[in-house]
Amino acid sequence: MSSMNNLSESGKSGMNLKETELTLGLPGEPRVGKACMKRVFSETVDLELGNSGKKDSSGSGSSMKKESATSRGKLVGWPPVRAHRKNIMTVKSGKYVKVGVDGAPYLRKVDLELYNSYEQFLSALEGLFTCFKIRTVLDEKKLMDPVNGVEYVPTYEDKDGDWMLVGDVPWKMFAESCKRVRLMTRSEAIGLAPRPETKCSSSSS
């Protein structure tokens, strides 16, 4: 499946590759180590909010070594402004799309403007839906549910209402035309063929 090819091409883009490393562990085992970095509970727009201020401005309060650690150096819940209020200020910017998963009743929202590459985007999805991991299979990165080995294929609905495979077009083009994203199980996604850059208007199944 070539949908993920763009990932390996898109380079590092400032992303900590360690975060996409495989973790060795059986399903159900407590997730320690880097895998824990992915657990964000707040609004998806707060993906920036990993945790932990690394240092405080005056050095007192030094006992705070056990501050919740971070993947991106920002502090959770500080200052105590409701996420709702924080979001409001940046509401004009940001391109929010809904992300759904086959078989799950809930939807999440992501801001595509936060990412510069498919790799970052996939990592974000991995963080959003913590049941998934990015696995490298035959040099391609795929989103899988490690419990049952089911592979999920990210697909999206574009401006024309067509459902396409994520990864076929350059990232920027995708970000502009994407209206919503759905993680389909591989069997569901079979009908979607990769598309060339010039749009065809035939709809997908």
């Binding site: 320690v32 180590g33 824990c36 970095m37 657990r39 509970f41 707040s42 609004e43 707060d46 909010l49 945790n51 201020g53 405080d56 401005s57 005056s58 050095g59 007192s60 309060g61 006992s63 705070m64 056990k66 501050e67 919740s68 650690a69 959770v76 819940g77 500080w78 200052p79 105590p80 402004v81 409701r82 996420a83 709702h84 209020r85 924080k86 979001n87 409001i88 200020m89 509401v91 004009k92 809904k98 809930y106 939807l107």
Partner: protein
């Protein structure tokens, strides 16, 4: 009868009543050998019930219920509003068994720190068990106020079909429901007067046009608040709804309503007392000439509360001038405006009592507020940019000005980057009526920027001089001294909030030992450990909750507390912490402790340990 015999006969009568049903009384024999007639007691109780109906304050009622069993019963039968500050403190069944004739329920779930992403989303506070119990026990329910509860569409559906006389629904900071739930409420609750969504998180996954679901023929709506809804609504449906809701007094629309649309609504409802203006910005491609907003505002002679301004284009602000002289409440906290844009508005707001604003107006804007709003009771200044920085747009200068101009201030929430003790002390002296003082210096551990000293003296002055203070939130560089002041002087304080403060266990000890009225204590990132935790053992059963996250409390310490106090639930959870390779830590990430009549809750998710 002698007093002792009278007492005994009353108790015996109670026992008989309990055994045989409240209305059937039988003569009982006292140990003194006399027959006592139960009838005078019955009369007494009826009289009591008729008197108690007038008692509305829940604290008064709680006192009444402690007098004796008879009074307890009478009070329980006449209480029509129940207030449950922590949904886990009592089970729905227990509440329904004691209070049988309830018309109004206030139910609160998660603690406040959940608003700041400090609590995992599936922690609990589910409304479902409550609505199921109430559907049977409280068929006459009219009002429901939920705060920080998880409410699903199904819950709303149960609610909508169970209470035929349902009138008021207020959901504050709730989540878990969507447009489908709203639609059910709108269509089934034909007596609905109040439908308020306040800072709630509403999902639009179902994309149901809920505004179209209200009764076609006309509604009893008096209040419709949905400014927190973050997706578009059907404006035509809204317009139609406003047109057929002749009792509507409060309307707060969301940011997907533009100026032109707002104008149309205002023309339909000049009787409004409370208006949330939506985006307050024109549609992208205006086709008609500009709406005459000034006339629309002029026509709203009863308007006393104004909010919204989500995407304000300052050019249009002058439209509100006609109502400034009358308004008592103004919420500009989403309006990114400068001091110069604020001044012409605020200089007319002589009657203003509640003012929420963004710090984009700077100290200069606050000075303008101080110059005009002599009746100000509540001020909230929010940060437009919530990152830690060295200098911000508001500072001690603004606070000082407010303290000098607004002497009647009762409640303040002030975000800033830096502060001085002098300004805080000044406020403590000038504003003796302060009940709520919440200062948030965004830069953590920041000292007084002019003296370099900790902020101890400032907060000390607040607890010392503001004799009515019940709620305090501290910030900046604080040593244990600040806490000793709080413990020493904060005798009326009920709610305390600490973050990144203190030196040692002593700090928390001072507070737990000194603040005898303390009910809610929320702490994050402070160096308080087990020893401090232990010092509150005598008091936890008097509190609604204690929250400590990222402090120095260990699992063992928490376990000790759990073992030593009955009827206090100790929850610990760790969900946001990375363990360094090979490190084992006994430190608890989050401790949430609350009193409860029930045992450990059955709906705790896996990451929560109840000790």
């Amino acid at each position: 009868m002698s007093e002792a015999q009278a007492q005994m006969s009353e108790d015996d009568a109670d026992l008989a009543a309990a055994a045989g049903g409240a209305s059937i009384r039988t003569a009982v024999v006292t140990t003194g050998g006399d027959y006592s007639s139960p009838y005078p007691d019955q009369v007494l109780e009826n009289v009591l019930e008729n008197v108690l109906i007038f008692l509305t304050s829940r604290r008064d009622r709680n006192a009444v219920s402690l007098v004796c069993k008879s009074w307890y019963r009478a009070e329980a039968l006449t209480r029509s509003e129940i207030y449950i500050g922590n949904c886990y403190s009592v089970s729905p069944r227990r509440a329904a068994e004691r209070f049988r004739r309830v018309r109004s329920v206030v139910l609160k779930g998660k603690p406040r720190f959940a608003d700041f992403s400090l609590m995992p989303p599936d922690w609990g506070a589910h409304f479902a068990p409550w609505v199921i119990e109430m559907a049977e026990a409280y068929r006459g329910l009219e009002k429901l106020y939920l705060k920080r509860m998880n409410v699903t569409d199904d819950d709303l559906a149960v609610m909508a079909r169970s209470f035929g006389n349902f009138r008021e629904l207020v959901l504050v900071c709730c989540e878990g429901f969507g447009t489908a739930g709203l639609a059910v409420v709108a269509s089934k609750c034909r007596q609905l007067r109040v439908f308020d969504l306040i800072e709630a998180e509403v999902s639009d996954d179902d994309e149901v046009d809920w505004l179209s679901c209200f009764p076609e023929s006309g509604t009893c709506l008096e209040s419709l608040i949905f400014d927190c809804v973050e997706f578009p609504i059907n404006f035509d449906a809204l317009e139609n709804l406003v047109a057929r809701s002749r009792s509507l007094k409060k309307l707060r629309v969301n940011r997907f309503v533009n100026l032109e649309q707002l104008h149309r609504l205002m023309i339909l409802a000049p009787q409004l007392t409370d208006l949330g203006t939506g985006s307050f910005s024109p549609q992208d491609h205006p086709i008609d000439q500009e709406p005459d907003l000034v006339s629309a505002f002029t026509a709203c002679r009863s308007l006393v509360s104004l909010s919204g301004f989500r995407e304000t284009v300052p050019d249009y602000l002058p439209a509100v001038y006609p109502v400034c002289a009358n308004i008592t409440s103004l919420n500009f906290s989403y309006a990114n405006i400068t001091a110069d844009e604020l001044k012409p508005v605020i200089r007319n707001c002589h009657k203003l009592q509640i003012f929420w604003v963004l710090d984009s107006v700077r100290d200069e804007g606050l000075q303008a507020v101080a110059a005009t709003c002599k009746d100000l009771r509540e001020l909230r200044v929010f940060p437009i940019d919530a990152t830690e920085d060295n200098v911000g747009p508001v500072s001690d200068v603004g606070l000082q000005a407010i303290s000098e101009g607004c002497k009647k201030l009762e409640s303040i929430l002030y975000f800033c980057q830096q502060m001085t003790n002098a300004a805080v002390i000044s406020m403590s002296n000038n504003c003796p009526d302060l009940v709520v003082f919440r200062l948030c210096i965004i830069g953590r551990y920041r000292p007084d920027h002019s003296t370099g000293e900790p902020m101890d003296e400032g907060f000390g002055a607040i607890v010392k001089n503001c004799k009515k203070l019940t709620r305090l939130a501290v910030s900046g560089l604080l040593t244990d001294k600040a806490f000793s002041y709080i413990g020493q002087y904060g005798k009326l304080v009920r709610t305390l909030s600490f973050a990144f403060a203190g030196d040692s266990d002593l700090g928390l000890k001072y507070v737990l030992e000194g603040c005898s009225k303390l009910e809610k204590l929320e702490i994050r990132d402070c160096p308080f450990g087990d020893s401090a935790l232990r010092s509150g053992l005598h008091h936890y059963h008097n509190m609604r909750f204690l929250w400590m996250s990222t402090c120095r409390v260990t699992r063992q310490g928490c376990r000790e507390i759990a073992q030593q106090i009955p009827r206090v639930i100790v929850e610990v959870f760790r969900w946001n912490q990375i363990l360094e390779e090979g490190e084992k830590s006994d430190l608890v990430d989050t401790l949430y402790l609350y009193r409860s009549l029930e045992g450990p809750r059955a709906d705790a998710p896996k990451f929560v340990n109840i000790l």
